[in-house]
């Protein structure tokens, strides 16, 4: 079956080459049948890569260890759901997933515009097939997912324990969907520039794909943050890791584009800016993919054994150079049709918002690539850490949240000062009251966090004011009850009110970030059973040790051979609050020389974090038991000397008995973080708001709205 998979890759490369040639010939020679054939090549690419993906997926599900990638990342003891997801845990499999998702989304986009913008679409499909061909070529020449070893090994190495987590199953498909969807607006922008058709039509065509890319990237980023918080054992959700930053940068430029797009639609302004944002987003998506695979920067997310740096650098150079050339050479047709009417307008606020978002992206770009830049300039690799990022991103984030409250209360085109003052009064009073309350509560020693809470309060008040006034206006016009009027208001103005809900979600998210960063209590120490410690207002007592052996007893299906942990009682003011059970999982090792028992537990240990989450706070804990304690070490050494491989698991029983009877002191990491839950809740609100904003209005509503707004000629001409 590996032969079929590789044959599909070769076929895919041929399809891409043909499709590019047919599309370009079709549009240049005015032969629409060749353009159509090029579009069908994209559909065929999707079909062929689907076959290839199914072949690889079946190999994982059937434990076909003749496939090198299956032997490297899966095993018979890996639970079924993680085996299915292990396809994209390797460099090779993730490249196939990337190419497959690109072909699917590209097919959807081209199908939707098949009767329009033939010339723009022809160039776009050539660009998309170019991307597809690049990734397929990488697989054929550098990282073949269908490479085999005969005879097949009897067992695989198993999935990395760090990846045995539900959110990690869907995090890569979400993130890759985001990256690939970002290439679609990129391709259509290139097509529009090449075809010299930079009118409103191509913007309308790519809008939903730009949004979809933004949405999937955002979901992927949040899932990754959740994994980091729940699995990695350091207690944080964002570490300014290079690969985290690589996914955030295109999300920021896509957010800027979603806003400035509205200005171009309404006023024909910011065309150069929008085209540049779209091109930058697509390029940053490719750069994000490059970072994970090239090995140029250290990251926990990176695939090992990177060999793909050079091809990616060539592609990125081509994208950047080509984008700059196209924008500069077409700058005449990208002139704005109108000018900004007033600085006191929603357009002006969107512009400022864009500058802040791009500024954030630039800061993160600089910090992320600083090791490469410093090495190129000075010969020494230097890096910047979280404090550097926090210093520059926090003030920008504050401005961003504030702007998300200002934008809703300012009119399009121009607002008068008097009206602006009136509209800002209530939100400003709410923000001020929040500041007074927080300072009175003694939180003044964290000015940045207090400022963020006040900005968020401002957003809640301004968005709430918009909903109340809009509902009131709707009731006055239609005589409906308040709930009906509210529903009708949102249905008829999805973009506006969906956008307001997104702003609310962002404010909620940043409340969670500010509170959990600034008011976190963390401590690390060693405890024996019966001992207790204070963490903030909480008392944590080590009640008793816990232990489990083999995957059969491992409820989380982490595949650990042995898990040693502790039961912790958490109380506050003498009242029991939670019971936590953090543990450390020990996994089998493939390394030689560890002995029969040592090899059962000598693999990379993984912390299984215990979290008691709540509306107001999370109590988080991780444990590092002293596996090298003399009593336990003696058992392992005795087992290595006397037990064969088949009898070695008996030693694990003795280990467990010894650990439970006389547990050695364990090192604990405790954290109490306020309001962490609101980060995830904020993300969900953003997701819901985004869906509302982009959901197409039913055609009857569209027709009625058009009829209401239909211009009565006689009124205007009189």
């Amino acid at each position: 079956m590996a032969g079929l998979g590789f044959a599909c890759l070769l076929l895919a490369l041929g399809i891409c080459a043909y499709g590019i040639a047919a599309s370009i010939y079709g549009v240049r020679a005015g032969r629409p049948e060749f353009s159509d054939s090029g579009r069908r090549a994209v559909y065929a690419l999707a079909g062929v890569l689907t076959v290839a993906f199914v072949v690889l997926e079946l190999a994982f599900l059937r434990n076909d260890f003749a496939f090198n990638t299956v032997a490297d990342t899966s095993s018979r003891t890996t639970p079924l759901q993680y085996r299915a997801a292990a396809v994209w845990s390797s460099q090779e499999g993730s490249l196939l997933l990337w190419a497959w998702l690109l072909s699917l989304w590209a097919s959807a986009a081209l199908f939707l515009v098949r009767r329009r913008m033939r010339d723009v679409a022809s160039y776009a499909q050539a660009v998309l097939l170019g991307f597809g061909g690049f990734f397929v070529a990488l697989m054929i020449f550098y990282a073949d997912p269908f490479a085999t070893t005969r005879p097949a090994p009897p067992e695989g190495a198993g999935l990395d324990p760090l990846l045995r987590f539900p959110t990690m199953m869907i995090h890569p498909p979400m993130l890759y969907s985001g990256y690939t969807l970002c290439t679609i607006p990129f391709a259509f922008a290139v097509g529009a520039l090449l075809a010299r058709r930079v009118d409103a039509d191509w913007i309308k065509a790519i809008r939903r794909f730009a949004f979809a890319g933004w949405l999937f990237l955002g979901i992927g980023i949040l899932l990754g943050a959740r994994w980091s918080y729940s699995e990695l054992g350091w207690g944080g959700y964002w570490g300014w890791d290079a690969v985290e930053n690589a996914s955030l940068m295109p999300w920021l430029t896509a957010t800027a584009f979603m806003h400035s797009l509205m200005i171009q639609e309404k006023r024909g302004m910011l065309k150069v800016w929008n085209v540049s944002l779209v091109l930058a987003t697509g390029t940053l998506a490719i750069m994000g993919t490059f970072l994970v695979r090239s090995g140029v920067l250290n990251s926990i997310h990176a695939f090992g054994g990177a060999t793909l740096g050079v091809p990616f650098v060539c592609l990125i150079g081509l994208l950047i150079g080509g984008s700059i050339y196209l924008v500069v050479s077409r700058r005449e047709m990208l002139r704005s049709e109108n000018r900004l009417d007033s600085l006191l307008s929603r357009e002006a606020m969107f512009l400022v918002n864009n500058l802040v978002l791009v500024g954030l992206c630039f800061v993160i770009f600089w910090g992320t690539y600083f090791p490469l830049i410093s090495e190129a300039v000075t010969g020494h690799e230097s890096s910047v850490g979280p404090p550097w990022f926090d210093r520059y991103t926090v003030p920008l984030a504050l401005i961003l949240v504030l702007l998300s409250g200002i934008g809703p209360v300012i009119a399009w085109r121009r607002a008068t000062l008097a009206h602006a003052r009136r509209n800002f009064l209530a939100p400003a009073m709410v923000a001020l009251a929040t500041a007074v309350a927080l300072l009175a509560a003694g939180l003044g020693h964290k000015p940045l966090a207090v400022t963020m809470f006040c900005c968020a309060a401002f957003v809640f008040a301004s968005v709430g004011q918009e909903f109340v006034r809009g509902t009131r206006a709707r009731r006055a016009m239609a005589g409906e009850s308040a709930p009906v009027a509210l529903l009708a208001l949102v249905r008829r103005n999805r973009r506006r009110y969906g956008g307001y809900i997104v702003h609310l979600g962002i404010a909620v998210l940043f409340i969670g970030v500010a509170a959990s960063s600034s008011f976190q209590h963390a401590t690390e120490l060693q405890l024996r059973p019966g001992q207790s410690t204070k963490v903030g207002a909480y008392t944590v007592r080590y009640a008793r040790p816990t232990a489990s052996i083999t995957p059969k007893y491992d409820r989380a299906h982490t595949g650990s051979t042995l898990a040693l942990g502790a039961l912790l009682d958490v109380s506050k003011n003498g009242r029991h609050v939670a019971t936590l059970n953090p543990s450390q999982g020990y996994y089998a090792s493939q390394e030689a020389g560890q002995g029969t028992v040592g090899s059962l537990i000598g693999g990379q240990p993984v912390s299984h974090v215990a979290i008691d989450g709540g509306v107001t706070r999370d109590v988080w804990s991780a444990i590092s038991p002293e596996i090298e304690a003399p009593a336990l070490k003696r058992i392992v050494e005795a087992g290595n000397r006397t037990l064969g491989p088949d009898q070695a698991p008996i030693a694990l029983l003795y280990l467990v008995r010894s650990y439970l009877k006389s547990p050695p002191p364990a090192n604990f990491h405790f954290i109490v973080s306020p309001l962490v839950m609101w980060i995830w809740v904020g993300g969900v609100i953003v997701f819901i708001g985004g869906l509302i904003a982009v959901w197409p209005a039913p055609s009857t509503i569209r027709a009625r709205a058009a009829a209401r707004a239909r211009v009565p000629r006689r009124l205007v001409r009189a």
Binding site: M1, G3, L4, A7, C8, L11, I15, Y18, G19, G30, E33, F34, D36, S37, R40, A41, Y43, A44, G47, V51, R116, M117, R118, R197, D199, A200, D201, E265, K266, I410, A411, W412, R413, R414, A415, T416, A418, H419, R422, N423, E466, R469, G470, A473, A476, M477, N493, S699, T700, A703, A705, A706, A707, R708, A709, R710, V711, R713, L715, V716
Partner: protein, 140 residues
Amino acid sequence: MAVVITLCTLALLALVVLVVSAPLRAQAERRAGGGEELDGEAGAAGEDEEREQDSEGRAQEREQLEVARETKYREIRDAELDYRTGKLSERDYRELDAELRAEALEILDALETEGATPTDASAARSRSRRTGPRRRPSSG
């Protein structure tokens, strides 16, 4: 197994060629179905192609105008909502509304020149979606 894989690959290749070449085959059939072209007919065929390109250009123009029309309608509604939610004074709203409606009129004029009657067309689509006959009130 090797034979099965080879057969599957060939079948896939055949399917790909079938799908990808369909527009080319359709065009070749259209040309062949037109019969032999004499010199005069070749000229007529050339004119037909020019007319087709012209009509595609006009279709693109009409598409752009329809997008511009929908955007302008949205702007008019947004301005009304801004006024009703207290972001615009009445004077500013009347001024802006007149401006936007004048811009919309230009777009509608351009659309009518292109040959489409957008308001009639959208009204006709709305009417055609009403289901069931209307009952006439009984008389006595």
